[in-house]
């Protein structure tokens, strides 16, 4: 079973790698964006789907990774292959710090604290003008010449996201992943099997934050710029809804959610700017009518 899944995944990646042959820049842009959000959403699902911890501030780490990479690259002129890992280390440290405060109490506190810290990161980004450019954002974040074209950047993103998704798949299916699910089911019992439950959750939080940071770094390179909006709660809400819509009880659900929302937002924003309202309706519909998301719907169909 995992073997066939692996083959399927390899097949999809192989097909995607052929995309530049189509010659459509638009398609390449769209696919790059989808890939970035697939990674972002899957990183969040480690928390929601596996640990049962609903983060309302995941965009904070997306922004930290993005700003970190952009600032190192642009302000300090550090080469990309150093800047990106450095930005990830920075995101990991900050996720561990913030995470250690967020997992101290119940899941309700977790949700409140993630929103609060998310907004704090946004406020810092917004007000620290000398470093982040404030609400003007950081412009001219230039990629090195070898990933300068839409096609080469797409291939680069495909490579990074594929590797990252593999890593996240392993995390989800590791002893840690299984332990997270056990903690979600019954924290007291897990604790009395000898599990230091909070520390396990903290490790998961740090992993999730770091991979969100990777997605953020790619996003900054992709747009050649980054703005405080990337840390704003609406960004957190969007990725959260990708996870719920796709299906939080499945590893691959958030990928479907990311694809659906990105494509939908493209079309919607051409007609109206009431995107948040539409997001809310999508979220409500999911909660009441298909709580296991699109992946849940597909699975139910498959069983019949």
């Amino acid at each position: 079973m995992p073997h066939s899944r692996l083959l399927l995944g390899a097949g999809i990646v192989g097909l995607l790698a052929l995309l530049p042959l189509s010659g459509s820049t638009y398609l390449m842009y769209l696919s790059t964006q989808v890939l970035i959000f697939v990674l972002f959403a899957t990183s969040l699902n480690i928390l929601i789907g596996y640990a049962g911890l609903v983060s309302f501030g995941h965009a904070a780490f997306f922004a930290i990774g993005g700003y970190g990479c952009a600032i190192l690259l642009r302000t300090y002129e550090i080469p990309l292959l150093l800047a990106m890992p450095a930005a990830l280390v920075m995101t990991a440290i900050l996720s561990a710090l913030i995470g250690s405060l967020c997992v101290r109490l119940t899941s309700y506190y977790f949700s409140m604290l993630t929103l609060a810290f998310g907004q704090l990161i946004w406020a810092v980004v917004f007000k620290w003008r000398s470093m982040t450019g404030g609400d003007d954002g950081l412009l001219r974040v230039d990629s090195p010449s070898w990933i300068d074209t839409p096609a080469s950047f797409f291939i680069f993103t495909l490579l990074v996201v594929t590797l990252a998704m593999l890593a996240l798949w392993i995390v989800a299916h590791s002893p840690l992943g299984r332990t997270l699910m056990a903690i979600r089911e019954n924290q007291v019992r897990a604790g009395f099997l000898g599990v230091h439950t909070r520390r396990v959750q903290l490790v998961a939080f740090t992993i999730a934050g770091t991979f969100a940071g990777l997605a953020g770094a790619l996003f900054a390179l992709f747009n050649r710029s980054i703005f405080p909006d990337s840390a704003w709660w609406l960004q957190s809400a969007e990725v959260l809804i990708m996870v719920v819509l796709g299906g939080m009880n499945s590893f691959f659900g958030p990928m479907v959610g990311a694809l659906t929302l990105i494509v939908l937002s493209r079309f919607t924003l051409e007609v109206t700017d009431y995107w948040p309202g539409l997001l809310a309706i999508i979220l409500l519909a999911t909660l009441f009518f298909f709580p296991n998301g699109i992946a849940g719907l597909l699975k139910a169909k498959g069983k019949r």
Binding site: G52, Y108, S111
Partner: protein
Amino acid sequence: MMYATIQFLNGLSYGLSLFLVAAGLSIIFGVLRVLNFAHGTFYMLGGYIAYEAVSHIGLSDGGFWIAVALSGLVLAVLAAIIERLMLRKLYGRDEVYQLLFTFALVLLFSDVIRGLWGTQVLSISFPPELSGAQDLGLAYYPRYRLFLCLVGIVVAIGVWFVFQRTRWGRIIRAATQDREILGALGINVPLVYLVVFSAGAALAGIGGALAAPALALKPGMDTEIIVECFIVVIIGGLGSLWGAFIGAILIGQLRSIGLYFVPEWEIVLVYLLMIAVLAFRPWGLLGKREGE
């Protein structure tokens, strides 16, 4: 001395209006075990509804007060409808769904407000009865802000009275401590939930309407206030009314001190206080330790 007095009063009036919102949030959580992300949204709606009402009936001849009452009423009805038609269906489900549901309300209403009132900053003038400044001996201070302090205190005492001295208050306190006890006592639990959710929303709406003359109405105020309410209940202890009171007063004072010493960054002070509480008393100043 004069400056200090004014700063203190600013902090107090801000803290007390924060309490109006945080108290509702805390009570709703205590009884329904639902963390209402939309509580800041109710506050914001209250402000905009008061603005709309005032723009039709005017401020004078009690117009402002009618507007405030109307805000509370509309929010109570709206919240009752939301609870009855939607939230109720989620009680038995995983808490994730309840969190996501109230979060969906935040998204939805932020766009509804944007659609109805636009994105420009709106404001209400002080009601004529309370415009101008009051001589306090040490300093002159805006009458309206003094009034806000008074309302905060009256509400705090009022809620305390309801909790301690009435049948409803006893039911709510019992529910906060042990939810299973309610059904066993033969109490109409769905009704209790409905009333508590609706009353909490009304309190938030009135808070928003009363704050409108002192603050500006603008997009984003919903998340701003809910984040501060979360900090209040984290500092005070989730589910504790007095915890919310102390947390709100502390934050009000801290902000006004911060505004003086580190303008622009005063919010960081608030976060530092929260982090300190989390580090040393993670269950909040007046909260109960988990598992006991």
